[in-house]
């Protein structure tokens, strides 16, 4: 969807009715509708898309969440759940006729059980706060999105978020055990368990990454892992992006699963270096950061093997962090790539396709060509180990036409990701942003199945409607319905 579409007007009478119904059980400070009060909620991390919500509800506990949902169900008001609002695909974009349900006040860590290595937390708890609380027991919560100081664990579950370390330690879906969640009608669902599996269908997997379309999550039991005793990082420089891509494949082929394996291209190192002084070799076309963690013995072994593979793959320079300070400095640039993009350009647009690693050279070359064609700079910084690209397109929203060009450039990158056998989104979700690209990735019957799955949870289609899955009608209108072997006649079209 384009940021240049829409903007729904708010119906004042309806707004009064809904706010009054919510104020019947929530304090006035927890039901917002004045323009200045709801303004902070008009967008999430994808700020190009904005929409004022009709009403914002800020329940403080599970019982209040349930009552908000029951009330909205009675009044037939759509609901958009929101965690910390750091999402990058507009998943928490409000609706002009809907209630924005913020889970931010549910921010208690309810229990940490060191022996079973689990933590039971409310959805508004920040990702990093879990690891901070578990640190006393030498445990931590593994998925570490770059936004971890701000993003909520509820949002992480809704997006199936990843992080630098997910190649070795998995995504959110691999690190949670149990959810308490409410359907749009306010019915409690207890999903998963304290055991490693649960009876019946794997609804835990289905809810993870469901972008707030199936249920509102009010409690999460996460797994905690023992903190690795030691971590060390190899920084390898290459005079050619293709060689760096090959080195990534060689590392994996050598039987190594690094704790992190990230790539930055020359534009990126050039942009971040002035801010972080990491000492990156600025003449390199690409650098790889390759981390080993574990016991001191394991790390010593693995670092030697990593170094050897990098050199054999044609690295022009290989450095190994000699202290924790140096390791952190190696990573500083990678962790600050987004803010750095924000400093070298008025605006940037972050893409999130995942591709098979063998297609890296082809895709990076094609992105460079598109960058020339559109006259827009693009920084490539990404989770190389799992092929999750984050091209950052640099643009200036104040220049007429630049946003539209940027969106077109971005859509082409996504199409390219699909064409090489990948996906339009590795971790940021579809939201509103990539909804049209879903028409490229999936065929009509698959999209119809997604809608049917949603209906099994939300028959009225009132929980975060319009996100994540395009209507077949929309795909057909866009002329982007993917016709497979010429056999599809959109049999399901009239249903939507």
């Amino acid at each position: 969807m384009s940021a240049l579409e829409k903007i729904a007007a708010i119906d004042a009478a309806r707004q009064r009715e809904v706010a009054a119904a919510l104020r019947a059980f929530l304090p006035a400070s927890a039901v917002l509708f004045n323009t200045e009060d709801v303004k902070p909620y008009e967008c999430d991390g994808l700020s190009a898309f904005r929409q004022m919500p009709m009403v914002v509800a800020l329940p403080a506990n599970e019982a209040e969440v349930q009552r908000v949902l029951q009330t909205c169900h009675r009044l037939q008001v759509p609901v958009v759940p929101r965690g910390a609002g750091t999402g990058l695909s507009g998943g928490a974009l409000p609706l002009g006729n809907g209630v924005l349900l913020s889970l931010a006040k549910l921010m208690r860590i309810l229990e940490i059980d060191p022996l079973s290595r689990t933590a039971r937390v409310q959805p508004g708890v920040r990702n990093l706060a879990i690891s901070e609380a578990a640190a006393a027991h030498n445990l931590y919560y593994a998925p570490d999105p770059s936004s971890q100081i701000a993003c909520s664990i509820g949002g992480n579950v809704a997006e199936n978020s990843g992080g630098m370390h997910c190649l070795k330690y998995g995504l959110t879906v691999h690190n949670i055990l149990k959810l308490r969640a409410f359907t749009v009608e306010g019915e409690l669902l207890e999903i998963g368990g304290n055991s490693l599996d649960a009876a019946g269908y794997d609804l835990l997997a289905l809810l993870t990454g469901s972008e707030g379309l199936l249920a509102v999550i009010t409690e999460i039991t996460v797994k905690l892992l023992p903190k690795p005793q030691r971590a060390q990082c190899v920084l390898a420089a290459f005079d050619d992006v293709v060689k760096a891509g090959q080195a990534v494949a060689n590392i994996i082929a050598a039987g190594i699963i690094p704790a992190g394996l990230e790539m930055m291209d020359k534009i990126t190192t050039g942009a971040v270096e002035p801010f972080v002084n990491a000492g990156y070799p600025l003449d390199a076309e690409a650098i790889l950061l390759c981390e080993s963690d574990g016991t001191p013995e394991e790390v010593a072994d693995e670092i030697e093997r990593m170094k050897a593979v990098m050199l054999a793959s044609g690295a022009t320079e290989v450095r190994v962090s000699q202290s924790e300070t140096e390791r952190v400095r190696f990573w500083a640039g990678r962790k600050n790539a987004f803010p750095a993009a924000g400093r070298v350009s008025p605006d940037y647009y972050c893409m999130d396709g995942t591709i098979p690693k063998r297609a890296l050279p082809q895709v990076l070359t094609a992105i460079a060509e598109l960058s020339k064609q559109y006259g827009l700079r693009c920084m490539n910084v990404f989770h190389a180990g799992d092929g999750n690209l984050h091209p950052l397109i640099l643009y200036d929203a104040n220049q007429p036409g630049e946003l539209a060009r940027t969106e077109e450039f971005g859509a082409k990158i996504l199409k390219l990701s699909i064409d090489v056998g990948g996906t339009i989104t590795g971790e940021h979700g579809v939201g509103v942003e990539k909804i049209d690209s879903m028409c490229d990735q999936f065929r009509a019957p698959e999209l119809a199945m997604f809608h049917a799955v949603k209906q099994a949870f939300d028959a009225g289609g009132r929980l975060n409607p319009g996100k994540a899955v395009p209507t077949l009608h929309r795909c057909a209108e866009m002329g982007r319905m993917h016709v497979h072997g010429g056999q599809e006649k959109f049999p399901d079209l009239p249903r939507f």
Binding site: L206, E298, D301, H383, G426, M449
Partner: protein, 360 residues
């Protein structure tokens, strides 16, 4: 479309139209598992073969009828494995059956379950529609995660045609230790160890014998061996032992009688029930051969934070099976969602009807 898929599609379309129940069979090695289901046999065994395997991508894609042994030897050749250590339960285990049954072996708590390693599926739903979800890449959040939903659904939501799985490198070194421990100590120790950075890849306790498998870099395995202590089990014996645990060919499983599988909170205290127990997964999996009543067992599993499955029935527990009571009952709210999902994927209710729950 491949002729076999064409045929399967045709069968499904007709069965859907005529409401003919179908019993989906891969290698038939897990016929004992789940509630019995009646219907015309729909065999996926002929749709076989590895489609794509690129070790440096850590991804393997194969057809549902591919024998597990074929997949495992292709992986071994490249120094890789299926980290969830799938149980074989017989010669002819196929990939489709492994996914549908959703069962994982001894390495599960340390490297992930079958569902954790599923990246994508191609399936035929109950109307014969050919659908693809997920993909061949490690990170993919486009659309609901229907692929993982297929793991453990016992074939009731679709006929799995193809699966992409994440693969992992084989550990360079492996050592199994043996210690004598009582049950309570074993549970406590297994949990304490799991909270430390040790390369544990399997644990198993029966009758005072605790075995711990360490896998990883040689140096790390050696350091852990010194730290944990106990006697080192001869490598060939250890290999055979863990295969026996995984495939239920171990003496523990072959004595006959009803076998219950209790998946519980790993720290759940000793479960006091008559019969013989085996503990795996650092305490999170308890096998139980018992003649205790179904209600008693379910209650015990619930108290231990988990659920109980009647894994293999005997003459006494056959009625449980015949009443569709193999799996732990669902809460009413979840049962509603389950029924709706079943209808979504299989509107005529023809796919392995009742195999997971009555009416599903």
């Amino acid at each position: 479309m491949e002729p076999i898929v064409q045929q399967l599609t045709e069968t499904l379309r007709q069965a859907n139209a005529n409401k003919t129940p179908l019993r989906i069979v891969g290698g038939g090695t897990k016929d004992f598992y789940g509630n019995p289901t009646a219907g015309e046999t729909l065999s996926t065994g002929a749709y076989r073969g590895i489609i794509d395997y690129e070790p440096s991508e850590l991804v393997l894609t194969a057809r549902a009828g591919t024998p597990l042994t074929e997949i495992e030897s292709a992986l071994r050749e490249k120094g890789q494995m299926l980290a969830f250590e799938p149980p074989h339960f017989g010669e002819g285990s196929t990939l489709g059956g492994i996914i549908a049954a959703g069962l994982s072996g001894p390495r599960r708590p340390y490297a992930g379950a079958v569902r954790d390693l599923v990246l994508g599926v191609r399936l035929l739903d109950g109307t014969g529609e050919d659908l693809k979800f997920g993909g061949q890449v490690m990170k993919n959040v486009a659309g609901f995660d229907v692929s993982r939903l297929m793991a453990g659904a016992m074939g009731t939501l679709g006929v799995i045609l193809e699966v992409s799985l994440k693969t992992l490198p084989l550990p360079p070194a492996e050592v199994t230790l043996h210690q004598q421990r009582n049950e309570a100590d074993a549970i406590r120790l297994m949990n304490e160890w799991a909270g430390q950075p040790l390369p544990i890849s399997a644990t198993c306790w029966t009758h005072g014998d605790l075995r711990i498998r360490l896998s990883g870099a040689a140096s790390a395995v050696e350091a852990a061996r010194r730290k944990l202590g106990g006697t080192v089990v001869d490598a060939p014996l250890a290999g055979a032992f863990w295969r026996g645990v995984r495939d239920h060919t171990d003496a523990y499983f072959t004595r006959g009688g009803a076998l219950w599988r209790l998946a519980v909170k790993s720290t759940a205290p000793v479960i006091v029930l008559p019969g013989v127990q085996r503990i795996e997964w650092s305490g999170a999996l308890r096998w139980l051969q018992t003649d205790a009543s179904v209600a008693t067992i379910r209650e015990a599993a619930h108290r231990a934070g988990g659920h109980a499955t009647l894994f293999r029935a005997d003459a006494n527990t056959n009625p449980v099976i015949n009443n569709g009571g193999v799996f732990h009952p669902l809460s009413p709210a979840l049962a509603v969602i389950h029924r709706k999902l079943k209808r979504t994927f299989d509107p005529a209710g023809i796919l392995n009807p009742g195999r997971i729950y009555p009416g599903m």
